[in-house]
């Protein structure tokens, strides 16, 4: 597993070398991502556009084009449109769904395009040149480790999970595997669909059902917002920790401000799209080798390093 900093260093170094090289013909990098339909994807759009702007300004011989699509079918059409009008030197894609996008991406690959896949893998891994994702198991595991430490190895926890998907399953698995054998007991676990309103209701129900709760884990920050309102309304003081995940700016701000109930956060940062775009360009311009699997770790965001993850202008 590579560390994030190491990659940043490679990318920046490669880009600096590349900047001094003579401009050849203009290279086109297409970035295909889902449209902003909730906080996390909104963050992806924001960071993809930021990366495009920065790279287009820094390298006159590279053109990064960002295209957002509101559904898997639209993303397939977008790929056709992008590749029909010009030759793509590289494609950075965060696929809507694995199955539907695999064939269309393969078609582009066959034209000689460098393929970078982000976050959600394709069903055929041989298509991608570079795969970059966060670590959902670590999101659950690191949260659990912090909880175990903070609660002294025992306590009653309630969990809110998202939409039944691999992402959600991995986070929950990471959490459950880590608490196995400790005194941490999961009282209840239910779906709240990564939605603040549903999380609010579910937390109200948890509070009605259990007279004593030591900690809450909502595996996404949208849900954590609902949880915090419900806890505030109940006036209960037994809840020592309420943790989320993903790195929403409001929650990271809480960590920066030293909030007692939400002192840490685990990132699954939408800014990973930026890492992917920069690495792809580093390969294209600076011939920096980037082929392979990159898994960004999910280190705890604490008061000490929170600034690195805080983007006040991002919608997420």
């Amino acid at each position: 597993m590579f560390s994030r900093k190491w990659f940043a260093a490679v990318a920046v170094g490669a880009l600096m070398v590349a900047g001094q090289a003579l401009a050849a013909d203009k290279k086109v990098v297409a970035v295909s991502i889902p449209a902003a339909d909730h906080g996390w994807t909104a963050g992806v759009v924001y960071h993809a556009q930021a990366a495009a702007k920065e790279i287009n300004a820094a390298f006159p011989d590279v053109e990064v084009v960002v295209k957002t699509s509101p559904s898997a079918a639209d993303q397939v059409s977008a790929l056709e449109d992008l590749s029909a009008s010009r030759k793509l030197d590289a494609l950075v894609i965060l696929p809507y769904t694995s199955e539907e996008l695999t064939q269309p991406v393969k078609a582009i690959k066959d034209m000689g395009t460098f393929i970078t896949v982000v976050d959600r893998g394709l069903t055929d891994a041989s298509i991608q040149d570079l795969y970059l994702a966060g670590d959902n198991i670590a999101v659950g595991a690191n949260t659990a480790k912090f909880m175990i430490d903070k609660l002294g190895g025992k306590g009653d926890v309630v969990v809110l999970r998202g939409i039944p998907t691999v992402i959600d399953d991995e986070r929950i698995k990471g959490f459950q595997d880590t608490i196995k054998g400790t005194g941490i007991k999961v009282l209840d676990i239910q779906y709240a669909h990564w939605n603040s309103d549903e999380a609010f209701k579910l937390m109200q129900d948890y509070l009605a059902k259990y007279p004593h709760i030591d900690a809450v884990w909502a595996n996404d920050d949208d849900m954590l917002l609902g949880v915090l309102e419900a806890v505030k309304q109940s006036g209960r003081t037994d809840i020592k920790l309420a943790l989320g995940g993903n790195g929403m700016k409001d929650i990271v701000k809480k960590v920066i401000d030293g909030d007692a109930v939400t002192p840490v956060e685990t990132p699954y940062p939408p800014s990973m799209i930026k890492t992917a775009v920069y690495m792809t360009v580093a390969n294209l311009i600076g011939q920096a080798p980037v082929r392979g699997h990159v898994k960004l770790d999910a280190p705890l965001i604490t008061q000490a390093n929170a600034k690195e993850y805080y983007f006040p202008d991002s919608p997420f």
């Binding site: 339909d37 909730h38 909104a42 990564w194 949208d222």
Partner: protein, 330 residues
């Protein structure tokens, strides 16, 4: 109920005769409460019940409006997105006005919410009636429009309310008056008004008449266009009131606000005994339907019987059973 002439006597008979069909939703409600108590005694605690009924307020308020639309033979799929859109507009205006108006920005924002709601409802109504487009398709279109507008306004993220207004506005959801949570009082007032208009006014009768048989209504001198359009405007006003209660709960509007509420609203109306094909509206049944939906969800969490994976299936089964009980108790 087929013709206008029959609808009036039926209504007056109902006051004297006990009808199992009309009592259906309330019996279902009582049965659920009893079941809940058996499953977990905490279920009937004051805090739990007041939480659940307060939560059902949004769907109840919107569903009162939907009772008008559906009994007049229409349908509105846009209500969920409309809540999000109105909540977004309201927060934006409140934030904009906060520096100059201070706390007066809250009532001013509420007024803007109501005006926006009326206009959204009018737009739906005019497209359906004057444009003569099937309500399902017309409101499916506006549903997409409102959802896209809120997503655009938020850039896909959230619009939070200004910090200076947050605390002052909070009591509209979390506050109580005489021990009763304010959203419950608001939905009770909306229901009383709705029941009065639907049962006691000429407009209410026209609404049912248009829904029962459009042609007969037209030959009787009722303006179908006007009656249906007004129903959509009432729906818009109800959505605005729901949005006003919604904003203080989490203090933000997001692109996922109100998602799929339209289905909950339609389910509440139908559980309540209103015919989906029009001609018959039951305001109090609708309110019972909205509470039933929230109670089922609450019961699922409070009981330990059902795996988290099967919750939605059990909810579906309970709703279908409730409908079957009504169908065969006639």
């Amino acid at each position: 109920m087929t013709a206008l002439t029959q609808s009036a006597p039926t209504r007056s008979e109902r006051q004297y005769q006990f009808s199992w069909a009309d009592a259906g939703p309330f019996l279902a409600l009582a049965a659920l409460l009893a079941l809940g108590f058996l499953v977990n005694p905490d279920f009937l605690s004051v805090t739990n019940l007041s939480n659940v009924i307060t939560r059902s307020a949004y769907v109840a308020i919107i569903a009162v409006g939907a009772t008008f639309v559906i009994s007049s033979g229409g349908l509105d799929l846009s209500v969920g997105s409309m809540v999000a859109f109105i909540a977004g507009i309201t927060i934006m205006f409140m934030n904009m006005m906060a520096p100059s108006l201070g706390l007066w920005a809250i009532p001013a924002g509420m007024a803007i919410a109501v005006v926006t709601g009326l206009l959204c409802g009018l737009a739906n109504g005019v497209i359906v009636t004057v444009g003569k487009i099937e309500p399902f398709i017309a409101t499916l279109g506006t549903m997409g429009i409102f959802r896209a507008l809120i997503t655009y306004m938020t850039n896909g993220g959230t619009i939070p309310i200004d910090k200076s207004l947050r605390e002052a506005y909070r009591p509209v959801y979390f506050g109580t008056l005489g021990g009763i949570p304010i959203p419950i009082l608001i939905s009770a007032i909306v229901a009383v008004l709705g029941a009065f208009v639907l049962y006691k006014t000429k407009y209410g009768r026209r609404c049912a008449a248009v829904g029962a048989n459009e042609d007969v209504a037209r030959y009787s001198g009722i303006s179908v266009i006007k009656t249906r359009t007004i129903a959509y405007v009432i729906q818009g006003a109800c959505v605005a009131i729901a949005a006003i209660c919604y904003v203080p709960r989490l203090g933000a509007a997001t692109p996922t606000t109100g998602q799929l509420w339209e289905l909950q609203v339609i389910t509440a109306v139908v559980i309540g005994g209103t015919a989906l094909r029009g001609g018959k509206g039951r305001i109090w049944g609708t309110i019972a339907g909205a509470v039933i939906l929230e109670l089922i969800a609450n019961l699922m969490v409070l009981s330990d019987f059902v795996s988290e994976y099967l919750v939605a299936a059990v909810q579906g089964v309970i709703i279908i059973i409730a409908m079957l009980v009504q169908r065969f108790s006639k």
